[in-house]
């Protein structure tokens, strides 16, 4: 059999690690806490274990921090050979693919609702009969009334048990204001990020740092504007999660996108910090940079799809 030193050269097997198990504890505590908190809120009960959610979350984040830190350290020590680096690359790419599919579920829902459900409820197409139950509801997007509202207005009685009051917003978010601005912001951030990468490969670290910072600033502006738009929608427009299917799809799609922008921004901040303060990344070897940048571009592409299907069409 082989000698051990050979093994070390060909492949790095990390030693035992407490990180994954601790991460599991954090994750499980956090998730269980989230369930308990939500259920208590729904039942209107006080939640004796309300600390589980934030506590678990904080612990989880701390462990992940350690974990990424460890990987970065190993990388610096040169323990990660070419093969392991390729594994990281593959891991990140497939992770992004899984994120794509997560968004796909919501886009699928949006498409199905717009192409089929709303027309049916409004009396059009194969299932137009449904309109008998919601007389007064007209198929349009965005709907100016929810089926429930339309029926109430027409003086009919609702057959399905009323589970909630769904009130369509008097007006909806137009594409031409903040959304358009946000599209421009996010698209330019992808451009700046791309040139940061070019700068890194060309060994121009100063330019890279500036461009990274610029990307981050654009991203943060996006988030801020998005938050402002939400505020506006909730308070001025009356567009809420309870605004029927328009509100549901609008907030879940843009909300999960916003969450991903935040995650991407966090990745970019770490990248920037590593580049600026730790002098990480070389023109040849900069997996961390690359991962963050792929993620950012992915978030950008999702936004473009979103802009088209949620705001524009």
């Amino acid at each position: 059999m082989s000698s051990r030193s050979d093994a070390e050269q060909t492949y790095y097997v990390p030693e035992q690690s407490k990180l994954p198990f601790l991460a599991t504890i954090g994750l499980a505590t956090f998730i269980y806490g989230a369930g308990a908190t939500l259920n208590a809120a729904r039942a209107g009960d006080p939640d004796p274990m309300s600390w589980l959610l934030p506590g678990g979350f904080a612990f989880f984040v701390a462990v992940l921090w350690q974990w990424f830190g460890t990987s970065i350290r190993e990388h610096r020590l040169g323990l990660a050979n070419a093969q392991l680096r390729r594994s990281y690359v593959l891991g990140m790419q497939w992770f992004i693919f899984s994120e794509v599919m997560f968004f796909f579920a919501f886009f699928l829902a949006l498409a199905y609702v717009r192409l089929f459900v709303v027309p049916w409820l409004g009396g059009e197409g194969d299932h137009g009969l449904a309109n008998r139950l919601w007389s007064g509801f007209a198929a349009e997007w965005p709907p100016s009334q929810t089926p429930q509202q339309a029926l109430d207005a027409a003086g009919g009685t609702q057959l399905t048990a009323r589970q909630s009051e769904f009130l369509a917003p008097p007006s909806t978010v137009s594409w031409s204001g903040i959304p358009l601005l946000n599209t421009i912001l996010l698209l330019s951030s992808s451009v700046t990020l791309h040139f940061a990468h070019v700068a890194l490969r060309g060994g121009r670290r100063g330019a890279m740092n500036v461009l990274l910072a610029l990307t981050l600033a654009l991203g943060m502006t996006f988030v801020a504007l998005q938050a402002w738009e939400y505020h506006h929608a909730y308070t001025d427009l009356g567009l809420t999660l309870k605004s029927g299917i328009y509100g549901s799809t609008f907030y879940l799609l843009t909300g999960f996108h916003g969450l991903h922008v935040c995650i991407g921004a966090l990745m970019l901040s770490v990248t920037l910090a590593r580049a600026r303060f730790a002098g990480d990344f070389t023109p040849e070897d900069h997996f961390g940079f690359q991962a963050a940048s792929w993620y950012w571009h992915f978030v950008d592409v999702v936004w473009v799809c979103l802009f088209l299907s949620v705001y524009l069409l």
Binding site: R4, D6, A7, T10, Y11, V13, P14, E15, Q16, S17, L19, P20, F21, T24, L27, I31, Y32, G35, N39, A41, A43, W67, L79, Q83, L84, R86, S87, L90, G91, W94, F97, S98, E99, M101, F102, A105, F106, L108, A109, Y112, V113, V117, V118, L121, G125, H127, T146, P147, Q148, A161, R162, Q163, S164, F166, L241, K242, I245, S248, Y251, L252
Partner: protein
């Protein structure tokens, strides 16, 4: 890093903190077996209640919880983790890699599972009771009308999804990146091929499942109306998104099975696998088709006719690549030199019984026929033939096949054959009569039934007990084999071939530190 990380650590820490693919594979397999027992006990509650007409032991609300938990635990707790366990153990050995590509994440994928299932099973003891809306959890029964435990169910599904996605990413990265020099794609063992495609399916559809439960979460807690017509949503939307995940999911459970059978048959037929190339293409075609057939679970929801027809034709097409596989297997046996060790018995039984399950699948695929079959025991018979006699049998097949490699001992041939035959009799007794009661009109998910179904239900229940009892033999055989027994040779089987047989039995803690050269 320590220089001596090459042997297993001592104590419980070995298992909690391990990054070794063999340890993690072992943990997955034990977890899976535990869940199989738990899910099996739930099944026994169901079968006990259905032994005779009338409510005998459990109330309808508890019966529904049993059905739901049985389906969930078996699918997500028993079958899927068993495959990930086998992948962990065998893929590095089969492609000549020292470990999985991302060993720490590997540990994480595993340890999430026990927590997720503990949370899920614990709901049984809560005041509101466990989820009771079937493993397919159709809205609005699972949203507006659900017990409060649904929140934990949703988060449990999120956790399982994370675990599966990370496991699948690991498998893909391992297969793409860690093959020994010379191991081209078209030289990979079939088990590795089928797992590569399975991993792709997992990464593609588990996030969609996460998406649909997230919509549920918002409908329940935050007032959205995805699945409520009053707000402009549609309960059927749930079904579309769910089955977009759900149908590929059933192939996730069966593709690795095809791989195992394709490994085992050549060994005991002493003849190379027939049609390796077409096997690869057939597997890929099945995976591709699996994305465009989902609505065959929804023929009765009132889809427009164009949809019915499309999904009917697409579903029927799956018989073609699956047929290629079956024919290739049979031809592999043809003019071989067959012997009938336990893995081979399971493999042969798999081919026959899975094909019977496939036949009932084709009958279900025909929309007008499905109007009569849908939600009856005919469907239950179908999917137990493909899942129990299919997936589960092939897992047993793989475990017996590789057990000597894992433990270094041969298992007890007589007892293992007893395990096979009793299980074989048990499951057929349990599930074959379900075809009859289903066709005669017995709906699924009911705790009590009309009198004309009584005889066959009693048979089914007896079959279930026989099956359950026989699994104890398996447990005994495995424990004995770990403890000792006739030492296994490196090759174990006379005609086995592949890299996993070139390392010693039991496989050392670290293998292929130097990549082997494959020609």
């Amino acid at each position: 890093m320590a220089a001596d990380h090459h042997g297993p650590a001592k104590g419980i820490g070995r298992w909690l903190f391990t990054t070794n693919h063999k340890d993690i594979g072992t943990m997955y397999l034990w977890f899976s077996f535990t869940m199989f027992i738990v899910g099996g006990l739930f099944a026994l509650v169901i079968r006990t209640e259905l032994f005779q007409p009338g409510l005998q032991f459990v109330k309808p609300e508890f019966f529904n919880q049993m059905t739901t938990m049985h389906g969930l635990v078996m699918v997500f707790g028993a079958i899927m983790p068993a495959w990930v366990g086998l992948a962990n153990w065998m893929i590095p050995l089969m492609i000549g890699a020292p470990d999985m590509a991302l060993p720490r994440m590997n540990n994480w994928s595993f340890w999430i599972l026990p927590f997720a299932f503990a949370m899920l099973v614990a709901t049984l003891f809560s005041e509101a009771g466990a989820p009771n809306f079937g493993w397919t959890f159709y809205a609005p029964l699972s949203t507006a009308y659900a017990p409060s435990s649904v929140t934990f169910f949703i988060f449990g599904v999120h956790l399982m999804g994370m675990s599966s996605i990370m496991g699948a990413i690991n498998v893909i990265a391992t297969i793409i990146n860690m093959r020994a020099p010379g191991m081209t794609y078209m030289k990979m063992p079939m088990f590795v091929w089928t797992w590569l495609i399975t991993a792709f399916l997992l990464i593609a559809v588990m996030p969609v499942l996460a998406g649909v439960v997230t919509m549920m979460l918002f409908d329940i807690h935050f007032g959205t109306s995805f699945f409520s017509a009053a707000g402009g949503g549609d309960p059927v939307l749930f079904q579309h998104v769910f089955w977009f995940f759900g149908h590929p999911e059933v192939y996730i459970m069966i593709l690795p099975a095809f791989g195992v059978i394709s490994e085992v048959l050549p060994t005991f037929a002493r003849k190379p696998l027939f049609g390796y190339t077409s096997m690869v293409y057939a597997t890929a075609s099945i995976a591709f088709l699996s994305f465009i057939v989902w609505a065959h679970h929804m023929f009765t929801v009132g889809m427009p006719i164009a949809g019915e027809l499309f999904f009917m034709y697409a579903t029927m097409l799956i018989a073609v690549p699956t047929g290629v596989k079956v024919f290739n297997w049979v031809t592999t046996m043809f003019r071989g030199s067959l012997s009938f060790e336990t893995p081979m018995l399971f493999a042969i039984a798999f081919i026959v019984l899975f094909t019977i399950g496939g036949f009932s699948g084709i009958m279900l695929a025909m929309a007008p026929l499905d109007f009569q079959y849908h939600d009856t025991y005919f469907v239950v018979a179908h999917f137990h033939y493909v899942l129990v006699q299919g997936a589960l049998f092939s897992i047993y097949c793989g475990v017996y096949y590789w057990l000597p490699k894992w433990t270094g001992h041969m298992y007890d041939e007589t007892l293992s054959k007893a395990h096979f035959w009793l299980t074989f009799i048990g499951v057929n007794l349990a599930f074959f009569p379900m075809h009859f009661v289903g066709l005669a009109g017995m709906p699924r998910r009911i705790p009590d039934y009309a009198l004309q179904f009584a005889d066959f239900n009693m048979l089914s229940s007896i079959g279930a007990y026989v099956t359950g009892f026989s699994q104890l033999i398996f447990l005994y055989v495995v424990i004995r084999c770990i403890r000792g027994g006739r030492p296994a040779t490196d090759r174990v089987w006379e005609a086995s071939h592949g890299l996993e047989w070139s390392v010693p039995s039991p496989a050392p803690y670290h293998t292929f530190a130097i990549p082997p050269q494959v020609r």
